[in-house]
């Protein structure tokens, strides 16, 4: 009888755990991936915080795509880090942004990094830019999280994924629809890109 009770309890716990994992709250834990996993269109964006074209794409197009397509559930948008070797500070910037994601501050940090790209791209003072959008407590936590080797490992995994997907330059978006990936290279404007997305996401 006791064994039966334990089994039933374990089953209930398992069902609840699966339910939580599948809920929207669990899916939105990271803001690097926005939109439902089941969306018919998926965009994998490979970007480098120190690349000027990535800044232009982020500011002119991606922010609106995120608001109007990903947050409304029409598409799934996933950010991947692809720091290029010629950009000396792109990797430290990616590490701090990934650490900020664990604090729920990815968007604020990414916006600040792109916005002030020219200054930290020259001085290398990435920390000052990141700190400007965090509270003193968050800064302390961020420094601890940034030391986690899993952060760097995830970035390496993103780079390897990009190489497997034949990403040759940044920014590159791989738009997958009906199982077919279409690479879109460079900066595209929101009006043209949204027209394309509207034709594939349907009504």
């Amino acid at each position: 009888m006791t064994v039966m009770r334990i089994r039933s309890f374990a089953l209930v716990v398992l069902v609840l755990a699966l339910g939580v994992a599948g809920s929207p709250a669990a899916q939105t834990k990271t803001t690097r991936a926005v939109g439902p996993v089941t969306a018919a269109v998926r965009i994998d964006l490979f970007s480098d915080f120190q690349c000027p074209a990535c800044k232009a794409l982020h500011e002119q197009t991606i922010k609106r795509v995120k608001e109007e397509f990903a947050q409304t559930g029409k598409i799934r948008l996933v950010h991947h880090d692809f720091p290029l070797p010629q950009h000396k500070y792109a990797r430290p910037a990616a590490i701090l942004a990934a650490a900020a994601d664990r604090l729920g501050k990815y968007d604020a940090v990414a916006d600040a990094l792109f916005h002030q790209q020219e200054s930290w791209g020259q001085s290398g003072n990435v920390d000052a830019v990141v700190d400007s959008v965090l509270t003193p407590e968050e800064r302390k936590k961020l420094r601890e999280i940034a030391k986690d080797p899993a952060i760097l490992a995830n970035i390496e995994r993103d780079v390897q994924l990009g190489e497997r997907m034949k990403v040759g330059s940044t920014p590159t978006m791989i738009v997958t629809h009906d199982g077919k990936p279409n690479p879109i290279v460079g900066v595209v404007s929101y009006p043209v890109f949204s027209k394309y997305l509207n034709t594939i996401v349907g009504p």
């Binding site: 330059s169 940044t170 279409n182 290279v185 595209v188």
Partner: protein, 154 residues
Amino acid sequence: MIRRAALALRVLLGAVFIYAAYTKLRQSWLLFALSIDSYQLLPEWAVFTLARTLPALELVLGVLLVAGVWLRYLSVVAAAILALFFSVMIVSYFRGAGIDCGCFGVGEPLSLKTLVRDGVLLLAALTLVLLARARSLTTKARHEGEALEARRDY
């Protein structure tokens, strides 16, 4: 010799134009619009107009080049189009923006490789212009010679 070289060049260029058109026509025209848009040189309406018309133009030009009709004029058109592409690519490459070449479908970044490839095609088209002109002059001279012979015989 001139005839054979002109034949080889027009078939090569014609095939390249047909292939370029095929890669664009087999996918959504909006994907090609995104490639054109990535050059950040044209307004939205021009991007859409070019994306809808350029693949058809490339196809017609390619077929006519392979067929060898109006070669003297079409070789100039092909050279002019390639010169336009090449200059836009050069400017964009040195501007340093991440750009989709858009040459043969989507997803090929503008690089030194794409510049060299387009440069070689432009050289081929310019050579074809010269060969087509030389061939036309040779044919004209031969016709004039034949006419003169015929008049003398008469």
